[in-house]
């Protein structure tokens, strides 16, 4: 039972990341009709916002100590952390909480990146076939990856969670298990709650604001909304920016779980795209539900008991579900009738 509970938590955690990326993917598909294969790169860029903030708050001034030499005979470098020296305790706080603080940095940056991406490139592909859109956005993702690699290198760059939440919570005790049997890292619990909050905010924005209502109306019937004199295109551009922010924040908060590297976006993109297909192209609740569902399924498929019966099932479970869904219900679990069915 304890093992099952742990795998459910793992699955929800992983599924939350899939859901956040898939939410943006499906939002863009639903509004602009674009299949954005650069969406994983936005998740990665968000993670590198955290890396950048981490580097900034840990910025050190290097001076040389001519009295001491390195093993290769050059003077030893003395590194002084500037932020802590300038701001004292507040500087130390910024270093300690650099990952959560990165959210403040990532929101405007990711919004800007999203808007530039849509206005600068993707708008020219609205009326082109999906194959063209996939090619150009995939190419863009590779370009972004290579820029990040050139700037930050190929190796993962670890980002620490604040010490306060760096350990693990013995949640089993709260549920009546023996101490130490159901232990889960605090940061993963925070990630799960953060994802729920972010998904809630996106739904609330679309559901309860006039802006969101117009966007939803545009998703349902773009032409009619345009005839009412509303500049729906401008709103869709903002939606693209919003999707970029969601993916970016998912990336920021994921950094203490998975040390970011330039390729992390591509690793998540394929899975998130499958999530969108399973959930239903253009369906926001479908993306969230499918993300969580596939995350949990993937987690269970990795259990030794399951792998002993079906070796390698952990590698194919998500794709297996996608194949079954496409065969049985091509529009996805919660997709609109007609989408992917023609």
């Amino acid at each position: 039972m304890d093992a099952i509970l742990l795998q459910i938590l793992n699955g929800l955690d992983k599924g939350a990341a899939y859901a956040l990326i898939a939410l943006g993917l499906t939002l863009i598909f639903g509004t602009l009709g674009v299949v954005n294969f650069a969406h994983g790169a936005l998740f990665m860029l968000g993670a590198f916002c955290a890396v950048t903030v981490g580097k900034l708050v840990n910025y050190q001034v290097v001076t040389l100590d001519p009295t001491r030499t390195t093993p290769w005979g050059t003077p030893v470098e003395i590194r002084t952390p500037i932020v802590q020296e300038w701001f004292g305790d507040f500087g130390a706080f910024m270093v300690e909480y650099s990952v959560p603080l990165s959210i403040l940095f990532a929101i405007p940056i990711m919004l800007l990146i999203g808007v530039i991406m849509e206005r600068g490139l993707i708008q020219f592909f609205y009326k082109r076939p999906h194959a063209d859109q996939i090619l150009v956005t995939f190419g863009l993702a590779i370009v972004i990856q290579e820029i990040i690699k050139a700037q930050f290198g190929a190796n993962p760059i670890p980002q620490a969670a604040p010490d306060l939440v760096a350990g693990s919570a013995d949640i089993g005790v709260l549920l009546g298990f023996d101490p130490g049997t159901v232990v889960y890292p605090y940061w993963r619990i925070i990630y799960l709650l953060f994802s729920a909050l972010l998904i809630g905010c996106v739904f609330a924005f679309l559901q309860f604001t006039t802006y969101g209502m117009v966007v939803r109306a545009g998703m349902a019937d773009r032409e009619t909304v345009g005839l009412l004199g509303i500049n729906i295109q401008q709103r869709f551009t903002v939606v693209f920016g919003l999707a970029a922010v969601v993916a970016g924040l998912a990336g920021v908060m994921y950094t203490p779980i998975l040390p970011p590297d330039y390729h992390m976006g591509m690793d998540f993109l394929v899975l998130s795209f499958v999530v969108v297909v399973v959930g239903g192209m253009g369906s926001l609740p479908g993306a969230v539900a499918a993300g969580l569902l596939l995350g949990v399924l993937q987690s269970f498929a990795s259990m030794n008991e399951v792998k002993n019966i079906l070796p390698g099932i952990d590698q194919i479970i998500i794709y297996l579900v996608a194949v079954v869904i496409l065969l049985v219900r091509p529009r996805g679990l919660m997709g609109r009738k007609g989408v992917m069915e023609s």
Binding site: W72, N155, A160, G180, Q298, N304
Partner: protein
């Protein structure tokens, strides 16, 4: 009727006999020189081309970059530029700093991308289009085995880079392939006594293993040596290469009854699985009344930097470390550090040494013909290259030398200072009979 022609005189027979004897007893290099014209990519001008096949893109690009830095340094030293590095400490004095066999060394590079097919394609291009006489480099056993096979078929020497699987010089060994780097068998033999000292003999291990040739090899060797100590193996779970999030593989460890987690992962997988294992509280856990332990059998300083403070106190093994204080290591660290501003990795070290050893073998053989160079490398004993007295064993083309057991440093002073050497395991302790790992070298191929 005489058997001889009437014109055949005793003097004529003597003359013919003397000429025949002279040919038969001519110096070997004279005959060899005549045959040596017949090999692939025989250098005809004033230079000879080495092919450096390293990962320039992909997950091991940083290691590949370090390998390339080391190769460039080796070429400089062979050609007589720079401070000479390890040529000053190398016990063989065949190389004089004027190239190899009177030819200046030039090089071409290829990108393995850490993919076997891409690595073979780039090696093939360097051999066929660029005329490379030798291929070297790489950061993966899968790639090394694939490229080694290609070099054997083509008829050039392959000097393996960072490859740790037993198979490279075991079941997949080739007559044209040579490995300086150690292997998982040696890691197991070196680590076991240190693990026994640190954790005792009553332990239960849980293995997470990268699901490819190196991972299987590593798991097998560590299981073999830890079970000899008396340890039990609770489970050995294969994880996909590049899984990213290992949480679903780590959580079953919590209640498995195991008190040691062995991470048979390398590179990015090692960084991620170790980081996540620490996050799940495994390092601070107590099981069976003992402190839970994590072991990373193959360490890389570049990767240890990626895992940050999570490596602190965790044991592993490594081929070489820049903090070694022998004259060879000091000379290499000095050359590399002055050229690039930071210390070399173990990948850089093994690649530098392989380039020097190849050049030295060509010089001693007086030829670039693969079979002659192979003969010069087989059984070659040397020192001054950073791992003590070393031998290129003829039977399997594996270098035998001291192996380092290291531990993540508790209080690193710089970002490079992440590992400390806790034991230099003597060569005798890690040696094994060549037939242990199977395979056949086959025949050397000159390629023409």
């Amino acid at each position: 009727m005489s058997l001889f022609d009437d014109n055949v005189s005793r003097r004529g027979i003597l003359k013919t006999g003397l000429v025949g004897a002279a040919v038969a007893t001519a110096p070997f290099h004279f005959v060899r020189g005549a045959g040596a014209a017949d090999y692939l990519n025989m250098p005809k001008g004033k230079s000879v081309i080495f092919g450096f096949n390293v990962p320039q893109t992909g997950a091991y690009a940083d290691e590949g970059a370090d390998e390339l830095r080391a190769y460039k340094l080796a070429v400089q030293h062979i050609n007589g530029e720079g401070d000479g590095g390890m040529l000053n400490t190398f016990t063989s004095k065949a190389l004089k700093g004027n190239g190899v066999n009177g030819k200046k060394v030039e090089f071409v590079t290829g990108d393995t991308q850490t993919k076997s097919d891409a690595a073979r394609a780039s090696a093939k291009r360097m051999i066929e289009k660029d005329g490379a006489i030798m291929i070297t480099g790489g950061s993966s056993s899968g790639v090394a085995i694939a490229v080694q096979g290609l070099c054997q078929e083509a008829g050039v020497i392959f000097m393996a880079g960072l490859t740790h699987s037993n198979d490279t010089t075991g079941k997949d060994k080739k007559a044209n392939g040579f490995r300086h780097f150690f292997n998982t068998e040696m890691s197991g033999a070196a680590l076991a006594p240190v693990l026994e000292k640190a954790f005792g003999t009553d332990r239960t291990a849980y293995h997470l293993t990268a699901d490819y040739t190196w991972g299987w090899s590593q798991e097998g060797s560590i299981k073999k040596y830890t079970e000899k100590l008396g340890w039990n193996t609770a489970s050995a779970v294969r994880t996909p290469l590049g899984a990213g999030d290992f949480s679903q593989y780590i959580t079953p460890v919590l209640n498995s009854g195991a008190d040691v987690l062995v991470l048979n992962h390398y590179g990015k997988d090692m960084v991620n699985s170790l980081t996540q294992a620490v996050q799940f509280g495994l390092r601070d856990k107590q099981v069976n009344g003992k402190d839970f332990a994590i072991v990373v059998p193959l360490y890389s300083r570049l990767m240890a930097q990626g895992a940050g403070k999570n490596v602190q106190g965790i044991f592993g093994s490594t081929n070489w470390h820049w903090s070694l204080q022998d004259e060879g290591s000091k000379a290499f660290v000095k050359s590399f550090g002055q050229a690039y501003g930071f210390p070399p990795s173990q990948a850089a070290h093994t690649c530098y040494v392989q380039a020097i050893l190849y050049a030295d073998a060509c010089q001693r053989a007086g030829s670039f013909a693969p079979c002659d160079v192979g003969k010069a490398l087989e059984g070659f004993k040397f020192d001054g290259m950073g791992n003590g007295a070393t031998e290129y064993r003829a039977a399997d083309h594996q270098c035998f030398k001291d192996v380092l057991v290291v531990k993540g440093k508790e209080n690193p002073t710089t970002k490079f200072d992440v590992l400390e050497v806790v034991e230099v395991t003597p060569r005798a302790q890690v040696e094994y009979p060549p037939e242990l790992l199977g395979g056949q070298l086959g025949s050397c191929n000159n390629g023409a």
